[in-house]
Amino acid sequence: MRIVVCVKFVPDIQSDRQLGPDGRVVRDGGDGTLNELDENAVEAALALAEEHDGHVVVLTVGPDDAVDAVRKGLQMGADEAVHVLDDAVAGSDAIGTATVLAAAVRHLGADAPVDLVLTGMAGLDGLTSLLPAALAEALDLPALPLASTLAVDPAVGTVTVTRRLDHATETLSADLPVLVSVTDGLNEPRYPNFKGIMAARKKPVTTLTLADLGVDPGTVGAAGARTEVLEAAARPPREDRVLLTDTGDAGTRLAAWLVERKLV
């Protein structure tokens, strides 16, 4: 089974994240990381590969330092990595990113068929969750998004997932090849161990450009984006804040404050 895991390099959510005037996240180096929610996708791929004798490729689109995201995937145990690196990609919206990833998956599929494409449920930077469905659409693959359980039956070639939505739970299935996005509830991602870190150094990382993938630069990046950030501003801190230590009447005072603020 050949599995491609799409991962994203994002600013560490524990760091003080900033936006530039163009609405893009400021990357001043050092505080970027593999999107935590993509670790669950890598873990799912590795677990399936171990069970069904598979081959795992980690794929990312992003600037120079985004290679750190696929490196982490290799350290966790993926077999090879692909990094799409091209200045024209900067400023892509989710649809543009899906276009590039789709081209890269097709490129990989030319060597040997790709059975399964995995992604995390969202990027912890934008949190739009648009990418999995957009990528499935661009690849013309059936999508099983938000898997909180995942079962693959390679004998009959079906994949079954369960997912939790706001008002319902669903069980979905489809025949390979499929795209699956996984939630953080699916598994507990492994930590790279020393052996994994050493082994990762010898694993191949292929860098590809848009030209290699046959993608017209005008259709992606800022040039192809269908949305444009006009303005980005840090939210002003909350004002008139009250902090008190309970000395026996804090509940009563809270109630009075809520009434005064017309919140009840």
Binding site: Q18, T128, S129, A168, T171, D184, R226, L244, G251, L263
Partner: protein, 326 residues
Amino acid sequence: MTATPVLVLLDHAADGTLRPPVRELLTLARELAGDAGVQGVWAGDEDVAAAVPALAAQGVTTVHRLATDTDVHLSAVLADGLEAALAASGAALVLLVSSFENKEAAARLAVRTGAGVVTDVDGLEVQAGRVVAHKTVLAGTWTTRCAVSAPTAVVTVKANSVVAQDAAAPSSPQVVDLPVEVRASSTRVRLVERTELAGSGRPDLGSAHVVVVGGRGTEGDFSAVEELADVLGGAVGATRVATDEGWIGHDAQIGQTGVTVSPRLYVGAGVSGAVHHRGGMQASGTIVAVNSDPDAPIFEIADFGVVGDLFAVLPQAAAELRRLQG
């Protein structure tokens, strides 16, 4: 104002009543559409008759009822239906309630039609003919304004972003069956099973005006949290620790990987305010925190913070509110 009608997906419950945020979206759509009018899309077998009074009060002119044998709960099928409704209505702007399944359909629609898509929006305007969306990002710490440059805009709007108001004059909505050509590729996914979650008897978490949240500090005893929620007429939410412990269902989890809430009032009890949790609640109107640890990060974003024991503070607040309400 838009030159063409604004289209709104009419999310509804099994009994055909509109989900509360839909009325907010219709209010917003009406402001944007002006004379061009607001049209709805009805996806599902439920009886639209139950929703017609609310749609009339909102001034909806036309409801496109998707006519198909396939299950519209499949996002690709819903996208097929929305594509047909876009064509039938001539709309250039589609509004959907922000939910995971609606975002899936929005993404597909964008890829297929070349539309620009913006998610989790909390305000919308039309400027020089372009749709401009407002949203908060990076766990509620930044606000952005984002214009759609494509001819068609697909926007998912967060609950509680606008106050729902009836139209000045009610309409008599026309319900029209819209045949949907479902692509062969849209039915490759099989919906093996779908179970609607039973309502809790409390407001729906994602759209409630008040949310009271319990974390690890409850140690599994949610009675104080529930009592305060009921006095405030609010929903009950939880941190992932509380849902993972099985103290409450997973559908109550608020945060980056759970439900995103932006109620008028958020009350966190025994919640530390971890960044993953904050991502799902930091855009709330007013934030109240009750935590025994003065250094808990939630106090950094609280409008009213109490350093204290939730089992003392919450019941006292509930009792006082009952007294004040008479």
